[in-house]
């Protein structure tokens, strides 16, 4: 626990050690706003809610989350600091979780800084703040899911560009797995049970359910088990490939 906290702290500080974090946050805020106002029709739809704001989160995350996660392990391997880190008295599990938590907290900070839109919508009308809170929670959970995928794939390579593209692709598949484009590919040869399973892996399905204001156990379990699964894979990959 202690080691995890120390690693997370170091990792989080290093996000802010360079202007990268600030650039990232500014662009993230600008884009979430722009999507909500222009493409989501925030004003035009005549409803005081944040649905048009949250609706674009999965798509923004496809771009932004791999950008956070790509450096987690790829950079350590590229610069050789992984040899330093993994010969300190910390277990691989502590290191993986610590790094993941730092990235998750960072994405949480970015998400929390979108609060002006929440103030705006409360100023304009009487939104259901319960739904908004649930949506924020859902968005944060989804960010965690994306990050666990990105962190795991980042451990596979020394190249951050590859880590970015791989993470974006896998996250895209997870986001899209509920739509026919993906399912038809499997329907041709896979048994129904597999197709249903794949459909249930869709981020969109679970995220949309949460943004309706209903946090159900199965959505929580979905994101939690997704994160656990990918971090477990992450630990294995770091163990196997750290020295390559």
């Amino acid at each position: 626990m202690r080691n995890t906290r120390i690693i997370a702290k170091r990792e989080l500080t290093s996000y802010f050690a360079t202007p990268v974090a600030f650039v990232f946050i500014v662009i993230f805020l600008a884009l979430t706003g722009a999507f909500a106002f222009y493409m989501g029709g925030f004003f035009g739809r005549g409803q005081a809610d944040l649905e048009p704001f949250f609706a674009y989160h999965p798509w923004l995350y496809l771009l932004f989350i791999p950008a956070i996660s790509m450096r987690l392990w790829a950079e350590e391997r590229k610069t050789g600091t992984i040899e330093n880190l993994m010969t300190l008295p910390v277990s691989t599990t502590e290191a993986v979780i610590g790094k993941f938590l730092a990235a998750w907290v960072f994405s949480g900070i970015s998400l929390a800084l979108t609060f002006p839109i929440w103030i705006t919508v409360n100023y304009l009308g009487q939104p259901d703040n319960g739904v908004i809170l649930a949506s924020y929670a859902g968005s944060f959970l989804m960010a965690g899911g994306f990050l666990s995928i990105g962190s795991c794939l980042s451990a596979l390579t020394k190249n951050q560009v590859i880590a970015f593209i791989a993470a974006a692709t896998v996250c895209f598949l997870f986001t899209m797995s509920g739509v026919d484009l993906v399912l038809n590919f499997f329907r041709a040869w896979a048994p129904d049970i597999l197709v249903d399973t794949i459909a249930s892996f869709s981020f969109l399905t679970h995220f949309n359910a949460v943004t309706k204001g209903v946090i159900e156990a199965n959505d929580l379990v979905f994101f939690a088990s997704l994160i656990v699964f990918w971090l477990f894979a992450n630990i294995l990959i770091v163990e196997l490939r750290k020295a390559r």
């Binding site: 170091r10 500080t13 610069t79 600091t81 330093n84 010969t87 300190l88 008295p89 910390v90 020295a243």
Partner: protein, 316 residues
Amino acid sequence: MAELIKLDGLTKCFGELLAVDAVSLSVEAGQVLGFLGPNGAGKTTTMRMVAGFMEPTAGSASVCGHDVIDDPVGVRRNIGFLPEGAPTYGDMTARSYLEFIAEIRGFDGGEKRRRVRRIVEMVALEGVLHQRIETLSKGFKRRVGLAQSLLHDPPVLILDEPTDGLDPNQKRHVRDLIREMSAEKAIVISTHILEEVDAVCDRAVVIGKGSLKADGTPEELRARAAGHNALVVTVPQAHTAAMDAVSDVPEVASIDRLSEAEGFVRFRLVSDKRKNLAPMVSDWLRGRSIPFDEMLVERGSLDDVFHAITEGDSDA
């Protein structure tokens, strides 16, 4: 003395490639072991396995009684490891990096500050504490890496090329540091600078193509050089003809004429058994009343031994 490092048949394969081939050896407290070998001989791989970064394919290694496979964290606690190239987090300042290391080594509050202050003094980092590591010169970067490995005052130190890329003054400083600490620690340094072995090591191990080729004090290794104990004698030119008969001395295997200058000629006499020829040859010269201007026993060079051992010359 306690064996702090123990390797038993340590082996590492990368696919088909046998990188380290059944290396067995142990290092006691108070010993500085020089790990020699050409690039690619398996030095770094061996050190990585001892430090718990790589898992051995076969065999075992233990540090202070902790096995590297069963208890890697126990090993890491007792070891200070400077990886090849001294990688550190470049975006951190030297101070925040060392504080991070101190925290992860289990030091908090006053103890953390005390440890960091002590190590900063020891490796002379005072002037650059608040600079980001990536902006430092190579020498300072290396010293930050060294500080990281020494911070918790470990009983075992594994330093992979600790003086690589340092200027001569910095090299001397690091060697002094290693010697100062050597009394109660087991220290392994890898290097291909042979003078370093003389400067700091009391034992040297040569590794070539993954396996141990030689193990002994630097003096013992030197004795394996082909030209060890060769004798250089300078005699006046008038007596050169008489010198041909020196091969009558039973131990002398060959005579080379090295140079002629200002009426003197230098000869180099080599013993076939690398014995010291000085007593016998000086008796012989005196017996024949040949005056000599200079008599010098050459020591074998580690360079020659290193070359002979690692290039597979069986003569060494």
